[in-house]
Amino acid sequence: MLLVQDLKVYFVSDSTVARALDGVSYEVRTGETVCLVGESGCGKTVSALTILGILPQPPAQVRGGKVLFEGQNLLDLDEKELQKIRGNRIAMVFQEPMTSLNPVFTIGDQISEAIMIHEKGGEREIRKRCIKLLQDVGIPSPEERLKDYPHQLSGGQRQRAMIAMALACNPDVVIADEPTTALDVTIQAQILNLFRELKQKRRMSLLYITHDLGVVATIADRIYVMYAGVIVEQGDTAHIFHDPRHPYTQGLLASLPTRTKRGGALHTIPGTVPDPAYKPAGCPFHPRCQFAIDNCRSQFPGMCDYGEGHLSRCPVLYERARPPHGAA
């Protein structure tokens, strides 16, 4: 359905070149929920924006790779064609419900606007669809809510409205960029349940971007772990959680506070995420990796296949765990 191949996006300012995406490839098949996981600043939001082509071009430059959607490379399309796809075939839900809705228009206007752009329809007919959409996303008494302004809704309701807006033209793919981060936990759970129901009802694929491994566990079919603009590990949720094959993924999982490690000191990964403009050579994780060897410092690691779509970009661990489970 949606295939990102070796995407390179650099941010050029007069003195530095920040390599936000250094050749990222991932895929979202129809009806599947794919999770893109990584610490903030690793480039996951940039990749989402690049797919939709709404990355502010002056500072950013797409330096390579393709974004194939139903065989078409979105990067080659001009603005007119891209507009037909945005919101209609690929929709996006953003992180900040507080600022992502236009404060001066009512919820009804902003949702019906999405419909009117892509499909013809009478005034009343669109209104009915909006009300139905608001019901789907679980907003109580939708007729009144239509007339409300964003500042009159709570954070959770606003995020639901965002989702309703995204689903307005029942797109094939929905990209959700950390939709629950700004919400408190109880609302977060409701939104996640909503996403799961919508996925079953509407047979749409979901690209879920987050840094919160807990959320990934509950919703993802497949997972891509990103670090410093590069996919370091990908695979089914089970593989990643139970059999992580990349030191960074292992570090992430180790620092998750679960009931079993009550009282003990949490494991932390030393150091910080490198500045995209001053990335270390070789494997970007090597300064913080405990298994790093000289080779890691000079040679940029390739992907090692552990079978069943479980790949990891760490040859050192690949060597150590020679017999892959069930793979050839």
Binding site: A18, P274, Y278, K279, P280, A281, P287, R288
Partner: protein, 390 residues
């Protein structure tokens, strides 16, 4: 693009190479250099400043190097770069550089030296006028922004009016009434100070409540004052006052300054209102820092960005206003020359001596343009919201 890689590997406490530390100034220069127009503006701004300085040095004093006021009637309306007719000139009348760089005006005065003096006078008019405007703007804006909430009490108004009226009457010669007012004012002041220290606890009778009732808040007071000032069409206010005061360079500066502080007040007040909500202000209050120190030490520097921008553009418009006033005959009076009054004196000779109009005209154009472009560049850089964001 060679990225200087300082890759060093230390065991556990590994610090990846991070961006070299940039001081605020370096960052400012980097951003400024990107906007070539602003840089051009800055260069002309600095050049104009030095010309003005040179103008001050070279043209003032009893026997200046370039004498702007030297009248040589026989050398009238000579085109630029023309050599003086030495034979009928007295020795001290020969221009210093030997030729008239920018020609002579209708009284034979060397336009080059007048432009030098004009540069100094025009820039002082600009800087001082904007200085006054910014100063008043900051003080009024600061008060309105920070103390906006608390209200002016009736007794405070009563005391101030009594004292003012007393002083006024005394000056006007009505002694008896003047003294009565002063006494009333002083007792009122004493009473309110006691009230402030809460000494009058029990003895507040009903009419006392009226006496100390709260009237209007400081913010509305100042904002209404701004409205009053805005009600006067600016140009007329300047014209009326300039036409009626004895014309002098300093009056013009003061008048332009006094009629353009409203913009700055609004900027500063808006900034302060938003800053007041910020946590660092409440933190400073929690630390027991005094109000005035919070305003001028913490809040005003943050509000300086828009003020600085409107200052640079203010200087430009002050020069333009002075030129407009000279056109109507109310600019800086002779013998001081400003670019404005050279231009308006020269307009009569537009057919006979076009350089008398075009030289000052373009000079004003270039300098004012430079100020504006630099101001615009400044606005882009200093405004955090406009900074580059990924």
């Amino acid at each position: 693009m060679k990225t200087d890689q300082k890759n060093f590997v230390q065991k556990k406490d590994i610090e990846g190479p991070s961006a070299p530390q940039e001081s605020r100034w370096q960052e400012f220069w980097r951003l400024l250099r990107r906007n070539r127009l602003a840089v051009a503006g800055l260069v002309i701004f600095v050049a104009f400043f030095f010309i003005a300085l040179a103008g001050l040095v070279l043209t003032s004093g009893t026997s200046p190097v370039f004498d702007p006021a030297m009248v040589r009637l026989q050398e009238k309306l000579r085109p630029p770069l023309s050599a003086p007719r030495v034979e009928d000139l007295r020795p001290e009348e020969i221009p210093t550089l030997g030729i008239y760089l920018l020609g002579t005006d209708d009284l034979g005065r060397d336009v080059f030296s007048r432009m030098l003096q004009g540069a100094w006078v025009s820039s002082t008019v600009g800087f001082v006028a904007v200085g006054i405007a910014v100063l008043i703007g900051i003080v009024m804006g600061g008060i309105a922004g920070y103390f906006g909430q608390n209200h002016v009490r009736f007794n405070q108004i009563f005391v101030t009016i009594a004292l003012l009226a007393g002083a006024g009457l005394l000056m006007a010669g009505i002694i008896v009434l003047g003294i009565v007012f002063l006494v009333v004012g002083i007792t009122g002041a004493a009473l309110s100070r006691q009230w402030k220290r809460g000494l009058l606890k029990g003895r507040l009778k009903p009419w006392d409540k009226v006496f100390f009732a709260r009237t209007i808040s400081i913010d509305t007071l100042i904002m209404r004052l701004v409205d009053i000032m805005l009600c006067f069409p600016v140009f007329f206010l300047i014209l009326t006052v300039v036409a009626l005061l004895p014309a002098s360079m300093y009056n013009i500066m003061i008048v332009i300054g006094l009629t353009s502080w409203m913009g700055t007040t609004r900027f500063v007040r808006a900034e302060l209102l938003s800053l007041r909500e910020q946590d660092f202000v409440t933190a400073a209050k929690a630390l027991g820092v005094k109000d005035w120190r919070i305003i001028f030490r913490h809040m005003i520097p943050n509000a300086m960005a828009p003020v600085l921008v409107s200052a640079t553009i203010g200087i430009a418009s002050a020069i333009l206003i002075e030129a407009g006033l000279s056109f109507l005959g109310f600019g800086v009076p002779p013998p001081h020359a400003t670019w404005g009054n050279i231009l308006s004196d020269g307009k009569r000779f537009i057919f006979d001596a076009p350089w008398l109009t075009f030289i000052p005209g373009f000079a004003i154009l270039i300098v004012v343009l430079a100020f504006n472009l630099f101001g615009e560049g400044l606005r882009d850089i200093l405004n955090p919201k406009l900074r580059e964001r990924y």
